[in-house]
Amino acid sequence: MALRMRQLGEALRAFLLPQPNRRFWIRLGLEIVVAWVFFGKVCTLSWTQGESMLPTYGDREFLLCWQPRYWFRDPRPGEVVMLRLAGPRVMLLKRVVAVAGDSVEFRGGGLLVNGKEPDAFWASLTLCDWDLPERLVRPGHIYVVGDNRSMGIDEHEFGEIAVSRVVGGPLFH
């Protein structure tokens, strides 16, 4: 028992305080590269700023942006996406309400996609008084809106954006 405890202690010490030999440096280098690729290109750490996605996402919430979600397919209506706004660091968090070929309209605060209100929880999460004439989403684009439509239409950043700007989607909430 005492021998086993001593072996365990040695193994723990070797793990926590490794000898800086060649093997250690190779392992450390590989770990840095893997972490850099994973957190830089696959799963980006991010924080929300602003209240345009209330009540789904509040201000200063921690998010993981899962990029592989849209490597092989385009976003679908209802999905929350993260869009590249300025460089690799600044992104927009919005909900897709319509895709290419769909018509979008706000009438008396109600969202109309192809002339009818979407039968989904995200269609009217907050009170809204927006009015926006009907428009058609161009090919290669999606129409994104924040969930908090209680703010003024001019204060809220939303609209049609190129699919190429989609970085990924939040991994969990």
Binding site: R84, L85, A86, G87, I153, E157, G159, E160, I161
Partner: protein, 169 residues
């Protein structure tokens, strides 16, 4: 015979080196796109301000800004009170005045997409992120722009800025 052989060898080497140098110069010289990107970098450097900037440094930056702007610049930016045709002098004086309100200004320009119209005209789409800070005020914003440039005296100068909407409502 021997002497002639000795004369040709260095000449051939010289020609070879000259050829390689010409090739390197041709392949590595900055393209017009790179030159335009550089102008954006210079523009952000001219506007940026650090906390300990002195008068001489500010004057140098405004001189650099003057070199980047054409005589007349057409501006169309949302909420900007001086939209329309403006002279470079007007913009430099506005920039000088605007910079004095803040202790620090940082400007980052991303996603520069150059569209060469011809050898002397170009448009460039970009995203600018500006953050300002004074003693009791802090703000930042992101705007998308379409800049127009013209090549004057072998140097690209900005001739216009208009806002380019990323999200079309």
């Amino acid at each position: 015979m021997r002497r002639k052989k000795h004369l040709w060898r260095p000449l051939l080497k010289l020609l070879l080196v000259a050829g390689v140098a010409a090739g390197l110069f041709y392949w590595l010289r900055p393209s017009e796109e790179k030159r335009i990107r550089k102008q954006f970098q210079r523009l952000s450097e001219a506007i940026e301000k650090s906390g300990d900037e002195g008068n001489a440094s500010a004057a140098v930056k405004m001189f650099a800004l003057g070199n980047l702007l054409h005589e007349q610049i057409d501006i169309s930016i949302r909420d900007f009170p001086y939209n329309g045709e403006q002279s470079a002098e007007t913009l430099i004086s506005l920039a000088t005045r605007g910079r004095s309100f803040f202790r620090t200004i940082s400007v980052d320009i991303y996603d520069i997409e150059v569209i060469l119209i011809d050898h002397e005209l170009a448009d460039a789409r970009c995203v600018a992120r500006v953050a300002v800070e004074s003693d009791n005020y802090r703000d930042h914003g992101v705007r998308h722009f379409m800049a127009s440039l013209a090549k004057i005296d072998k140097s690209w100068q900005f001739t216009g800025f208009r806002e380019d909407e990323l999200l079309r409502k």
